[in-house]
Each structure stands twice: as structure tokens, then as C-alpha cells.
Subunit: 412 residues, 2 copies
């Protein structure tokens, strides 16, 4: 008997049939004697449909009103899932984010959870109810509805699990778990049984879409054990948890590719103290997430600075850099979106040298040129041409011994 928080994404509740299937899975858990809190996303493409509807009204909808609009998606799926549970004989109740006691800051469309008052959820649990909570949303200090931004429902689930001290937080998705590489690219990628928070964090920020960084950070901070698993099968998924000793036996846990970045190069930047601080300060002020940064000093006291930003921040970056660049005297600005960032990640790297060398060697063998390099304690990332990304990932996956063993001919 424990307390389980389950989160079902949009594709898991895309239509009434899916919703009934999800209700069935919740009932399985309930029958095992667990108390269950469920966080739901909006059905299928509902959020995108609502965004499209808003853009038929105006191309610059206010963030506050977008939140009023979009938050209805999770309210609908929550109510329907609750009805499905009732039809199966369970006591259940659906709550909006505000009703569930989820309090956020006032940054509409990308609000952060400030705290959770789990009183109402706890009361319904004591009454023996399955509690369904609309994901992705909460209430601001001025009692407005705010949404949490991409991957927000995962964060809702983790935050509720932390507030309730749940025994586990299960994130149901349309994949079987976390893989050693994207299985659409690497045929012999393996599903991982477990992964450390830090590895998951690196992979999430490196383009693995299965969990958003924010929810993993939250889970790590509060020690919430996460399980990523498929809502379409009953196989166990991947456990995301505190690093344990034997995790270091594996040097590289996974290989990832991020094709959604753009490289910005500033040439002829005066090589004086404070220039970089000024440039990147302005970018940070505009909310741009700068990723890799490289600076070379060239002759005549002028430097070249290159950095990468997410594709969605390119417009903002251009504006900031044009203005700031003029002020500090940058000669030329070029943007290149024909790039991919390839990374290898593993906590085992800490005890092993030579991972970067092994990586460069494997890429050199394919004749792939490396444009930028960035490392952390548990990952090495390189920037290469986008068209070479898939080949690079396949080769690195093999080079680091991650390929799943070929199955014997008689089996599939």
C-alpha cells in the first residue's frame, strides 16, 4: 500500500477509447491497494487547436488570455477521465490546478510552481477517491490562471509527488522509457532500466524529448523517484533516480542529437574586458538561453565569438545582438541553422578519461568536421553539420558499446 502519482500525456488521452484505457490502468493500481493521484494533459492536439483558434482572432494574443484559453484543455480531459473512472465503479474527482492548490508565479505561459497546498488533494484521498488534477496549470498570486509552459504537466506531477511525499511518480508517455539513443535513428538503441537524475538532466537539455529538464530538476531536488513508461504496454519503464555506485560501471549512458539550435558568430569583436559580459548579459535579460560558447582571439586585438541558441530564440537573439553589437563595435554577425549538437552522457565519465578523445576519433573516422566543443563533468557535446547528425549518433552509439545485442535468428 503506497501513494502513487501518475501522469498521462496528451497522446494517452487523445480520444474516449484512450481515456477508458487510461482509466483501466488507474484501476489496476487502485486494486493493488495504492492511493492514486493522476495528472492529465489536454487530449491529443487540443492545445495546438486552441492556439490556432486564438491566432484566428489576433496574431498577438496576450499571455494571460492564452492561459485562460489553454487551461481549459486539461480541465476537459480531467473531467472525462473522472467520468470513465466512475463508470468503472471507482470514486474519483477532478480538480483544476487552482483547486488542487498549485500556486505559481505570474509569468503567464511559462509560470513556475511556487508551492503546493495539498490539503484538498489529501482530503479527497482520505475519502478514498482517485484524484485527477489538470496538469500544466496553477494559480498566480492575483488569482489568475497561469500555465507552466512546455512539459508543464510532468512538473505538476513531480511537484504533487514531492508535496504528498508519494512513493513514486510514474510518467506515462508514448514510448517505453528512456533509450540509449533515439530508437527512430539508432535501430539498436536500448531501453535503459535506470538512469541518474544528472544523466537525465543532461539528456533532456540535449534534445531527448521524453522528459523536460524542469521536471527532472524538481524530482532531483525533492528526491522524487520517477518512472518513465509506456501507456500502451505493461512493460516496466525506466527509473530516474539518485545516482548509485554501480551506475558508474557504464561510462556512457546515452547518445543524443539536438537539431533545433542555431549557431551565431560575431566577428571582429573588440578583445577588451567586459565585452562578453555585456553581450551575454543583454541576451540573458531578453530571456535567451545561450548554450555553447566559444571565443578565439585573433590578430589586431579583435576576437570571434560563437554561441548557440534554441531555434525559438533566434528572432530575439538577432534583435539583441544587432543593438548590442553596434554599441560594442562588432564587425559582422552570421547565423547558421544547418547544425546539430551531438552529445554523449554518463556519470561514469567522471572516473574515466579519454571519452572526448574516443568521441573525436569516431567522428574523424567518418570524416565529420567538429565546429564547436563543450564539456561538463558528465557529458561531451560537439557541433557538426545537421546532415551528418544521424550517422554520427549511430557511430557513437556503437563506438561506446551501447548497441543492443543482435537477437538470435529464431527470435524477433
Amino acid at each position: 500500500m503506497g501513494l502513487i502519482v501518475q501522469k498521462f500525456g496528451g497522446s494517452s488521452v487523445a480520444n474516449p477509447e484512450c481515456i477508458r484505457r487510461v482509466a483501466g490502468r488507474i484501476m489496476d493500481m487502485k486494486r493493488k491497494g495504492h492511493a492514486v493521484v493522476v495528472v492529465v494533459s489536454a487530449m491529443g492536439d487540443t492545445t495546438d487547436d486552441l492556439i490556432r483558434l486564438a491566432h484566428r482572432i489576433t496574431n498577438a494574443p496576450s499571455d494571460r488570455e492564452m492561459d485562460m484559453l489553454m487551461s481549459t484543455g486539461e480541465q476537459v480531459s480531467g473531467a472525462l477521465l473522472t467520468m470513465a473512472l466512475h463508470a468503472m465503479g471507482a470514486d474519483a474527482v477532478s480538480l483544476t490546478g487552482p483547486q488542487a492548490g498549485i500556486f505559481t508565479d505570474a509569468m503567464h505561459r511559462k509560470a513556475k510552481i511556487l508551492g503546493i497546498n495539498p490539503k484538498r488533494i489529501s482530503r479527497h484521498l482520505r475519502d478514498g477517491h482517485v484524484v485527477i488534477v489538470a496538469g500544466f496549470q496553477g494559480q498566480t498570486p492575483s488569482k489568475d490562471i497561469a500555465t507552466l509552459g512546455r512539459g508543464g504537466s510532468d512538473t505538476t506531477a513531480v511537484a504533487i509527488a514531492a508535496a504528498l511525499k508519494a512513493d513514486r511518480c510514474q510518467i506515462f508517455t508514448d514510448v517505453a522509457g528512456v533509450y540509449s539513443a533515439d530508437p527512430r535513428i539508432v535501430k539498436r538503441a536500448r531501453k535503459l532500466d535506470e538512469i541518474a537524475y544528472d544523466e537525465m538532466l543532461e539528456l533532456a537539455s540535449l534534445g531527448a524529448k521524453v522528459l523536460m529538464s524542469r521536471s527532472v530538476e524538481y524530482a532531483k531536488k525533492y528526491g522524487v523517484e520517477l518512472e518513465v513508461l509506456s501507456s500502451f504496454s505493461h512493460a516496466p519503464g525506466t527509473l530516474v533516480k539518485e545516482e548509485v555506485k554501480n551506475m558508474e560501471d557504464v561510462v556512457v549512458r546515452g547518445v543524443s542529437a539536438d537539431k533545433e539550435e542555431t549557431k551565431v558568430t560575431l566577428s571582429g569583436v573588440p578583445d577588451k574586458p567586459g565585452i562578453a559580459a555585456r553581450l551575454f548579459g543583454r541576451l540573458a535579460g531578453a530571456g535567451v538561453n545561450v548554450d555553447m560558447i566559444v571565443q578565439n582571439t585573433s590578430a589586431h586585438g579583435l576576437a570571434d565569438i560563437s554561441f548557440t541558441v534554441p531555434a525559438e530564440d533566434v528572432v530575439k537573439t538577432r534583435q539583441v545582438i544587432r543593438a548590442a553589437g553596434e554599441a560594442v563595435g562588432v564587425k559582422d554577425i552570421t547565423l547558421d541553422d544547418d547544425i546539430a549538437k551531438i552529445s554523449v552522457v554518463g556519470v561514469g565519465m567522471r572516473g574515466h578519461s579519454g571519452v572526448a578523445f574516443q568521441m573525436f576519433k569516431a567522428l574523424a573516422a567518418l570524416g565529420i568536421n567538429i565546429e564547436m566543443i563543450s564539456t561538463s563533468e558528465i557529458k561531451v557535446s560537439v557541433l557538426i553539420k545537421k546532415s551528418l547528425a544521424d550517422r554520427a549518433v549511430i557511430a557513437l552509439h556503437k563506438a561506446f558499446g551501447l548497441d543492443r545485442r543482435r537477437r538470435s535468428p529464431g527470435r524477433r
Copy 2:
């Protein structure tokens, strides 16, 4: 400079084009210097679509979850209308029913407004905002969302107008106002410039669909001047207001037909004191709205009792009457839905005798048989065969001098 509450129904906000048109009308009012609060219904068929979606999950959805589901409709239209106002340069903000301070009882799907705390609406008005409120919904004492049932958005508008002491409450619909009879049946029906609350109440309960009784009752109780007008034209509509002296110059204000009732006849009811009280007590207990009642005492101490109920209450009525009828010893129960109730209404009747006689005479001239009669101070209703309803309405409209004058040949 005044304070106006405007309510737009589902057909007025059915799609983005309609929503922009509504925003334009609100801007007109705003430009005249008025403060404006707007109550919106869900877009077009949204509510029906949501009900259908729920029935794909279960055929007995709980009322609480239906309210969670359906209340999203008005939240969506409110957010979109607010975006349209922003695009036209107005300051505007949308509020859910609970955010707007609308408090209801806990009778989900047919909740009653218990009170309004207009603090938040007033604050936004002081800031110069147009305030858009999701109609049809409020918050129960246990902080759940409840909907008000049919015509609920009208009631929301009237209740807000009362709480804010607004100068006027405009109800925009897809018709030009209140007519002397249904213009689809009576070609020469006239749009009324004004009508007394009591007349409107009788007409509403007699089948005129333009305003629900509950909102008119509320308006009467708090002296809110209502205007019913078309969202598709700029012509003045019909004012619903306190009765004034010259209203009595018109004996009959309108003629209506209600084809949605069923006649129930109980034969051989023991003619003893308390029997009727027992029968109708049970019906009231089951929430059945009994309308006309007639009782004839026949021979041998047995009576026949006939009454009418709304079509939607027939199933419940049958259950109650079968059980109660057995207990008191009713011989036979018959149901007849081939009936229509035809009514003439006017506060001027009070000072005039002979309205009923004139009505019966006009129907007799058409050879129409009257099955039941019911009168109040300001109306006379008769029950006739459904197939004769339209002919009866047309004849009565003419007999009471309500026909619009034929226009001169050159005009349309």
C-alpha cells in the same frame, strides 16, 4: 456615461468572425463613454459537443464532472473575445464565474446564484477595462464549479447588473426582440418596444424562448432594466421593465404556443380529501413542474384528474404516478403528448373582462375543441390538439388586434 452589462449568446460568438463583430459592438458602447461588463455564452454548439463527448465515455456522467467539463466552453469564448478587444486597442480582461465572484448553491447542472461579490469586477472597471465574464457558471460553497442550467448566462448577466447597479442589461440574441407572437408562425407578428416584467414572465413560461423565466424574475426582483436585441442589427430591441400606466392600454400583449407539454389523465381517483395533495406532493418531491391542473368529480365518489407536465419530465412523472397511483387506488393512467397550450398575455387584462370569452369565441369559429383551461390575472391558457396550434395562434393574434399593419405596396 453609464455602466452597461451586455450578454452575448452562443450564436453571437459562434466563430472568430462573429467574435470580432461582437467586439466591435462592445467598442461602440465603450466609445460612447460607458463602462462595459460583458457576459458570454459558449461558442455555437460547444456545450452540446461537450455533452456528446461525455456520453462517449459514459451514459451517466456525474453532474459535478459535467460542470467541470461544460464550464470550459464559456472560458474559451471569454478569452477569445478579450483577445479580439485587445486587437482593437481596448483594455480588457476575462474572468471565469468563480473569479468574477459568482457564488452558487451546490446543485450541479442547475445551480442557483446565491450572491455576487463584485469586488474584482469593480476593480477592473476602475482600471478602465472591459470585463468579460464567463456566463452560466459560478462557485459552490465547497469551491467546485457549478453551472446554472438552461438560460444561465442571461441570469449571470442580470445578477451582475443587479450587483453593480448597472444602468441597463442588454441581452443580445439572434432575434430582434420580443414579438407579439412567434414570427415563424405569425407572419404579421410585431416586435414589441416594451413589455412588463410580468408579461415577459408569463410569455417565458409559456414557451417564448427569447428569455428564461429565471433571469426575468431576477430582473424584476432587483429592478434591472433589460433590453432584448439582435447582435446582427443595430435596431433598438424590446425593453423589459416595470409596468407603467400606459401599458394597460393594450389588453393582450402577445400570443404564445407551447408544444412541449404532455397531458396526464388519472381516471377513477377516490374522491377523498388529501388524495390530490398526496399525488402532487410526490410529483413536486421528484422535481416535476406540474403546470395546468383540472379535476372533475364523476359519479360513485371517483374523480378524474388531468394535468400537464413538460415533455422532459414525462419519464419521472410516469414513475411517480405509477407508484403513487397504486397506493391511492387510481384506476387508469393515460398520457397524451398530441397537445399544445395556447396563451394570450397582457397586464391590460386586469381592467378588462371578456378576454377569455373572446378567445373561446375565436377558437370556436375555427371548430377547435378546448381540452383544458387555466387562467391567471394577466393570461388565459387553453389546451388544444397540437396539429391545430399554428392556426389558433394566427387567429388569436388577429382577433386581439395584434397584427402588424400591412405595409404600403411600394415598401418592403
